[in-house]
């Protein structure tokens, strides 16, 4: 994610090869607009269903409700034995701790790989890349047994502690790429002034790496917020449920009876991710374009 690649992604495209005529251009826009509508119609429909009077949800395919009624938000919020406030709080705690763990642990490892010289560095770097390819299913069951023995099941620890051990190797890789782009003269000068590795990391690398740290933090947050499998396995008590587990329980318990409440809570669960989309879209898109992240 050097300046060159950054501008590659955000700069206006180079002079378009062979501009389309007015008719071609209109056709392209028509196709793109139609596709856009098809893409976001389900989302808009869900939001409008969440504020629709209950009896109207299935009757209507339109996006504007006949009257706006927020009662399904109230119904949904208290729709289970534990309120959705609890689920949101749990998700927030896990996501924030994950962000901290990923940023701290991955940047430490990335700094070692990108800047420090020590025996076996290339070997460990190759191993680290290798761990990115291993499907988590292979480590799933022994990890579960380990956390069960530690008494951690039904706490947030199995979801959070691995992040403080840099288990998301992908972010290490992302940060190594960025750190390598920071001019080496800066740390050499700092070294001349007697700075040790720790101070160079803390005073030079981290402040200069805010874009990549922010990218890692945002993706960490979104992936953790949306994670379903981890909480499904480790959290059994409804008081410790995340928002995703809460929604799943709601689906199973209410089955078709309270779609309004279900859509209201579903809509709310998307709000934090949508917030990041609105305000950090550039970072997200650069992150994907330069590293090929899958989401």
């Amino acid at each position: 994610m050097t300046d060159a690649t950054m501008s590659l992604v955000t700069a206006p495209p180079p002079a378009p090869p062979g501009r389309r005529g007015p008719i071609g251009s209109a056709l392209v826009h028509a196709a793109l607009i139609a596709a856009s509508i098809a893409m976001i119609y389900p989302l808009l429909w869900m939001i409008s269903a969440s504020v629709r009077p209950e009896d109207e949800i299935f009757a209507s395919t339109s996006l504007s409700p006949s009257s706006v009624d927020f009662s399904s938000y109230l119904r949904g919020w208290f729709g289970l034995d534990v309120s959705f406030g609890r689920f949101f709080w749990n998700s927030l705690v896990i996501a924030v701790l994950t962000v901290i763990g990923n940023v701290v642990a991955c940047s430490l490892a990335a700094y070692a790989f990108a800047r420090l010289r020590f025996a076996g560095r290339n070997f460990w770097f190759a191993i680290m890349l290798g761990t990115m390819m291993v499907p988590y299913h292979v480590t799933l069951i022994p990890q579960y047994v380990l956390f069960l023995d530690l008494g951690w099941v039904n706490t947030f620890l199995p979801l959070v502690v691995p992040k403080f051990l840099a288990s998301d190797a992908f972010f290490i890789f992302l940060m190594v790429q960025f750190f390598r782009g920071i001019p080496r003269e800066l740390d050499e000068a700092a070294m001349m002034d007697g700075c040790g590795a720790w101070r160079i990391y803390w005073k030079i690398m981290l402040p200069l790496s805010l874009p990549v740290l922010a990218t890692a933090a945002i993706f960490s947050f979104i992936w953790t917020w949306d994670d379903f499998f981890g909480p499904l396995i480790y959290l059994n008590d409804m008081n410790s449920y995340t928002i995703q587990l809460g929604l799943r329980t709601f689906v199973d318990s209410s089955s078709t009876s309270d779609w309004g409440g279900l859509f209201a809570m579903s809509t709310l669960s998307l709000v934090p991710v949508f917030f990041f989309f609105l305000f950090f879209q550039r970072l997200l898109i650069e992150g994907i374009a330069t590293t090929g992240m899958k989401r």
Binding site: L108, R115, R117, I127, P135, I233
Partner: protein
């Protein structure tokens, strides 16, 4: 990366002779390992150790309560010969991969090409197409999908306007997999962004030269864009395929955790989950996990081996 690295933390070049050998080794390599320590603990404790344990468990019967009981290759033998649910899961998963990945990539490429040629409002379109990708992994979207394709869902309400009476898509074994395919294709935004970045790297003078030579738009696409984009297509195909093999949440939510109707949405990972955390057959589930690794590994090796016949690397 070796030659350009700097040694940090070694201090002054001349050090007292009294300093021991260990101290010198520490000064030379210690800082690196200090920074690497959290990752190293995680690697041994959470990746390597568990992977070895998982391989061992795959040769045992283990229910979390009693100690693992060695059964040799019995788990693998049962998977290979006597487990119809495994066969169903493999079939469903392959079907899902084969249907969803090509459609998703085709859409991503098509839209990227439309957007690439200096379309006005590029950032708006790109944002709209990317949004489903970002939201799509959540339970909320799977819940929405479950309603959209229900018997009395939105899709059928729309079809009814044209006088078509649609089936209950999610509870019909012939159609249920398609609802998951559509959900996956709907999230074509992130491969699209990668395609857009790839398209930007194709030098425009190539098109100019081709135009001067009288090459048609279609011919330019076929002879310039497509070949030069094959590395990106290859990358997207591998990433999306591996991701599709590992898909879990949508099938779990849409089928209520069962993989039904009649195992028609029994993704491999869902079956693995049922065996491990539903039936507590941890040994058997470990064997399933290693088979998944084998499948993904074979697929990846196959892709890389065949890539040299169609992926264009110009240097």
């Amino acid at each position: 990366m070796q030659d350009t690295a700097v040694t940090v933390g070694t201090g002054a070049p001349s050090r007292p002779a009294a300093q021991g050998r260990l101290a010198r080794i520490w000064a030379r390599h210690g800082a690196g390992y200090m920074f690497l320590l959290p990752w190293l603990i995680g690697f041994f404790g959470l990746t390597l150790g568990p992977a070895i344990a998982s391989l061992y468990l795959s040769f045992t019967n283990f229910d979390l309560i009693r100690a693992p009981e060695w059964v040799g290759t019995a788990n693998y033998a049962r998977i290979a010969t006597a487990d119809p649910k495994f066969a169903a899961a493999v079939k469903v998963t392959f079907l899902y991969v084969v249907l969803s990945v090509p459609f998703k990539l085709a859409f991503a490429l098509l839209v990227a090409i439309l957007l690439d040629r200096g379309v006005r409002g590029l950032t708006v379109y790109r944002a709209i197409f990317y949004l489903p990708s970002l939201l799509g992994g959540s339970v909320a979207i799977a819940v929405l999908w479950r309603q959209l394709f229900a018997g009395d869902g939105l899709i059928n309400s729309l079809l009814a306007r044209f006088g078509i009476e649609g089936p209950s898509w999610i509870s019909h074994p012939d159609y249920s997999i398609w609802t998951l395919v559509v959900l996956s294709v709907w999230q074509f935004g992130s491969p699209m962004i990668i395609f857009l970045a790839g398209l930007r790297q194709i030098p425009t003078d190539m098109y100019e030269a081709a135009s001067l030579d009288g090459a048609s738009k279609f011919r330019q696409f076929y002879k310039i864009t497509l070949p030069l984009l094959t590395p990106v297509i290859f990358f997207n195909a591998v990433v999306q395929t591996i991701d599709a093999f590992k898909a879990f949440t949508p099938a779990f939510i849409i089928s209520g955790g069962t993989g039904g109707p009649i195992n028609s949405t029994l993704f491999y990972t869902l079956y693995l989950y049922q065996e491990a955390f539903g039936n507590f057959r941890m040994g058997y589930a470990s064997a399933l996990a290693w088979i998944l690794v084998l499948i993904i590994g074979l697929f990846t090796a196959f892709s890389f081996l065949t890539s040299r016949y169609w992926v264009h690397y110009d240097d």
